[in-house]
């Protein structure tokens, strides 16, 4: 049964994942077990295949949707702290930058990993990022920039979050985007840097 669910996730069969998850619960399986050994094991293979160039964006999007369908079924039966993948992540593209492709790919990969992603969109000011951190209390805040001129906005935003006292022990700041380098990330005081969407998901799996 778990194998079937995993395969349905890998094939992006939304309806099938939904139905199989219901059946699995009816049979008395442990919801956390279904999450980890059926749904998540399926999406991990998807992530790997995407990284290997065997699956492509539209397919991963469908797999992520299928995963989401399963998780939605499980959620009422899972306690918050029982779900290791229910970390909350706020993401957005920084001020004066409207490029959302990279940010959306990260969102897709994180959703496909079962995280709850709050997408602030593009052209997000330092104040808006801080507001979201205050309101949603996420585990991670991720910011993206595509053009070199807006990399400075990233620096400003991190500074603002810190001056607002929001960068406490539990909050990690993740940055990324085509012109952003690991060196730059360190210089501006980010906790985490990811080269691409897959890397972002991998890093978060490690720390969450």
């Amino acid at each position: 049964m778990y194998q079937k669910i995993s395969l349905a996730v890998q094939e992006g069969e939304i309806e099938e994942v939904d139905q199989l998850t219901i059946k699995s619960l009816e049979k008395g399986n442990d919801p956390l077990d279904v999450l980890n050994n059926a749904l998540m094991s399926g999406i991990e293979i998807v992530g790997q295949k995407f990284a290997d160039g065997e699956l492509f964006i539209p397919e991963v999007m469908m797999c992520a949707q299928a995963l989401q369908a399963g998780i939605d079924r499980l959620n009422p039966f899972l306690k918050q702290d029982e779900n290791p993948h229910r970390a909350k992540i706020v993401i957005g593209t920084v001020a004066n930058d409207v490029h959302d492709l990279g940010k959306n790919l990260v969102k897709m990969m994180l959703t496909a990993n079962g995280y709850e992603v709050i997408d602030m969109g593009v052209n997000v000011s330092a104040e808006e990022f801080a507001g979201a951190v205050r309101g949603h209390n996420p585990d991670v805040v991720g910011m993206s920039a595509l053009i070199t001129t807006t990399m400075l906005e990233m620096s400003k935003t991190i500074e603002y979050i810190k001056t607002q006292g929001l960068h406490n022990g539990s909050l990690k700041i993740l940055v990324g985007g085509a012109p952003v380098t690991e060196k730059f990330a360190k210089e501006i005081g980010a906790d985490l840097y990811a080269d691409d969407a897959i890397e972002a998901a991998r890093i978060l799996r490690e720390i969450l």
Binding site: I57, P58, N123, V180
Partner: protein, 269 residues
């Protein structure tokens, strides 16, 4: 000539080879890229030197432009989102020039259009608002109309404004390519004398068979009324698609350009 204007995209700081050349001030790389693109048929050379060097960007832009103008008189597309860098580029260049790009974002629209007027430059204009890129062609058209109006206010001739429909990746949403094509059609239909341009390769991001996708997308955009294309002119498949589309749309009398391209061996994509 009715043919589509080719804006060569290879001098871009997001490419590793260019990034390194800018950082190390390697003159040969920049000059060679300019020559290669001109020889491949580029009508404009795009110059983007953004490599995250912040304050040095204006200086880098001037450096690159001077190098390129040593080897060609082909027009330049000064490519930066930074006003100071743009102005430095416009001041430094001698060749004909295009501002790449203006948008309807608050911090960008008026100052960039002012520059276009001051330096008598053409412009690529993007339908981007502070809230982002609207998906619907109708909304993109509205933003372009606003930009066209602001350009008119500054006496920038309509034929100097190249509106870009904005090409987002097909892989993320198959509506994206359709939206770009529809926006081109609407622009051509609605704004008299308007010109259009588009970055081609973005459409195929994240999908296999990118070369074929780019080629067919270019053909579709040309039929919709594309006047200019930002692309890699050394990609023979794309350039062959341009020639082939032109002859099939009756823009190459007696097939002369097409046959010339064939004799030069340029149709083997």
């Amino acid at each position: 000539m009715c043919r589509v204007l080719i804006i060569g995209e290879l001098i871009n700081g997001s490419r590793t080879v260019v990034k390194q050349a800018v950082v190390e001030h390697d003159e040969t790389v920049i000059r060679d890229l300019a020559v290669q693109q001109v020889e491949a048929g580029a009508d404009y050379i795009d110059v983007n030197i953004s490599v995250g060097q912040g304050d040095k960007e204006a200086e880098d832009m001037v450096w690159a432009i001077k190098l390129i103008e040593e080897v060609t008189t082909v027009p330049l597309a000064v490519d930066s989102a930074n006003l100071q860098v743009m102005e430095a580029g416009l001041r430094a260049r001698k060749n004909t020039v295009l501002v790449n790009s203006v948008s309807a974002e608050k911090h960008r629209m008026e100052p960039f259009l002012d520059l276009c007027a001051e330096y008598n430059a053409a412009a690529a204009a993007l339908p981007i608002k502070d809230s982002g890129i609207p998906p619907a062609p109708e909304e993109r058209l509205e933003i372009c109309q606003l930009l066209a109006e602001k350009a008119r206010d500054r006496n920038i001739p309509v034929e100097n404004m190249y509106f870009d429909p904005l090409v987002l990746p097909l892989g993320v949403d198959t509506y994206n390519s359709y939206a770009a094509i529809e926006t081109i059609k609407k622009l051509k239909k609605t704004i008299p004398g308007v010109k259009t341009t588009a970055g081609i390769s973005n459409v195929s991001y994240g999908l296999p068979g990118r070369k074929l996708l780019n080629q067919v997308f270019l053909v579709l955009c040309m039929q919709a009324g594309l006047d200019g294309a930002i692309l890699d002119p050394t990609d023979q498949g794309l350039m062959a698609a341009v020639k082939t589309t032109e002859v099939l749309l009756n823009k190459d009398k007696m097939c002369m350009n097409y046959l010339q391209a064939y004799r030069k061996g340029l149709l083997n994509n």
